[in-house]
Every structure is written in C-alpha cells, then in structure tokens.
Amino acid sequence: MTGKILGAVAAGVALGFFLLPGWVLDYTDLIIDIGLMLLLFFVGIDIGMNRSVFGRIRNMGLKIILLPFMIIVGSILGAALAGALLGMPFNESGAVGAGLGWYTLSSILMANYSNELSTLAFIANVVREMMAFIIIPLVAKKIGFLGAIAPAGATAMDTGLPIISRATDSETAILAFITGAICTFSVPIIVPLILNL
C-alpha cells in the first residue's frame, strides 16, 4: 500500500508541475472535497458493519484523550529538537511542530510573527501530511494500529482518515477521528501559545 500511495502522490506532483494547465487548479479543491466525502462515507460503512467497536471504545473511556495529548507533546518536542539541530529558537520550531499537519492555519497564525517562519510552517506541515500518507500503512504494520494515527495529527479526522481506516480497523478509525478532531481544535490555541513563549 505504501508504494501505491507514494506512486499516486508522486504522479500527482509530476503531473501538476510538468503537464497540467493552470485552470485545473480551480477544480482540485472541489474534487478533493467530493473524494474525501465519498471515502469518509466508506469509512462509515466499515464502522457500521463492526458495531461491536463502540463497546470497546466506551471501555477505554477518557484514556482516549491521551492519544491526541501525546501526539501534541511528541510533535512539539520533536520539532523543538529538530530546531535545536538546525539552530532555531525553541518557540519558533516548537510552533511549527504544533501545526500538527494543518498547514494552512499554522502558516496564517505565524504570518504576523515572521514571513519566513510562516512559509516554513506551511512547507513543514505539507511535508508532514505527505509523509503521513506514505508511512501510515507501514507504521500500522510494524509498530501498531494506534501508532498509525500519530503521523496524521490534525489530518486524522479528514484526509488522513481513509488511509488509517484502510491500514487498520474500524476501532482505530473511530479513535483517529476523535484524535484528529481534538488536534484540530488545539492548533489555534497551542501555536500562538508556543510562539509567544
């Protein structure tokens, strides 16, 4: 699956960069929205066919919140460590990591602070999203189903969800949606918070 995903993304980038005319860009968002809705509908069907997952998730209770919490902490710490290697201040690299893959919002939140950092946040989070798509099946197989939610971060509730659902099971898909939603709502709070440290 990882090879197919990598091939699809690479083919798309190459087509967009070398071949397709500019007007195609006017329709990409619409196609992505329709495709995403269709895939989320399929994720729903999978969940509906495995109703027993709800009982298991209810048994986990509030422990579920640990998943987005650890993703947020891991993302900020990881970015801060990478920043230290690159000679960046903690607050700047940490804020880039706190974008959790939501590249549009994280770059907007940093635009008033610095244009350069805003661009870095955008690119780093685009790369995170693409990297997530590619490694989710691999992480699910080698590390575990819950670990497969982590690379997606905030995108675990939308673009990352169909891949997580295909690579894992219905139970993990529900946990991914909840985790992605919490991460998404956290981004506008934690990015300015870390940036102003």
């Binding site: 699956m1 197919k4 995903i5 699809a8 993304v9 083919a11 798309g12 980038v13 087509l15 967009g16 960069f17 070398f18 397709l20 860009l25 990409t28 196609i31 992505i32 495709g35 995403l36 895939l39 989320l40 399929f42 729903g44 069907i45 969940i47 509906g48 066919m49 109703r51 986990m60 422990k63 640990l66 650890m70 993703i71 902490v73 993302s75 710490l77 990881g78 990478a82 920043g83 290697l85 690159l86 880039v96 661009t119 690119i123 780093a124 995170r128 990297m131 490694i135 590390i143 819950l146 670990g147 939610i149 982590a150 690379p151 939308d158 169909p162 295909r166 949606f177 939603a181 998404t184």
Partner: protein, 95 residues
C-alpha cells in the same frame, strides 16, 4: 472548521447507519474495499497535483525544504513514539 467537522461526522454517521442496517455480502464488501482503495489513490493523486501546480510551494520547498523535512521527520517520529508509550494503557493491553 466546526462546520467541516460536523459535515465529516454526518457523512461518517450516514455510512455507519447504512453499514449497520443493510446486509452487505462478503463479495460486495470486497468490491467496496477495492473501490475505496481506488478512490483513495485518486484523491492522493489530486492532492499531489494541487501541490505540483502551486509554484510557491515548489519554489519554497527547494529553498527551505531541508529544514522542513528535518522538522517533519522529528515531529512524526516523536508523535509516533509518544503514542506508542501510552497505547498499551489506552487499549488495556490489546493490539
């Protein structure tokens, strides 16, 4: 974002309702899996097209791509590690 979240939730719930009520045979279920994979790869290709056509993203990637890549690798790696640390506790020891 709240509206989008509700929309995603509504679509998933609609699918779950259909999945729970309609009896889907093994053959159809397998076919649904193939359709799902095909849609997923198409969606990823369109997302790739969007990135490939965005000249600002491509030119920025060539200038700050190294820093972005290092930050992304560490971000992803540490978030996987974080989840791995608590996954046994969250699932009560199951996979």
């Amino acid at each position: 974002m709240g509206f989008r979240l509700m929309m995603y939730l509504a679509v998933i719930l609609l699918g779950a309702l259909i999945g729970a009520r309609v009896k889907i045979g093994e053959k159809l279920s397998g076919r649904l899996g193939s359709i799902q994979t095909a849609c997923l790869l198409l969606l990823l290709m369109v997302m790739g097209i969007k990135i490939g056509m965005d000249s600002e993203v491509i030119s920025s990637f060539f200038s700050i791509g190294y820093s972005a890549l290092v930050i992304s690798v560490f971000t992803v790696g540490f978030s996987i590690l974080g989840v791995k640390l608590v996954s046994g506790y969250v699932t009560g020891g199951r996979k």
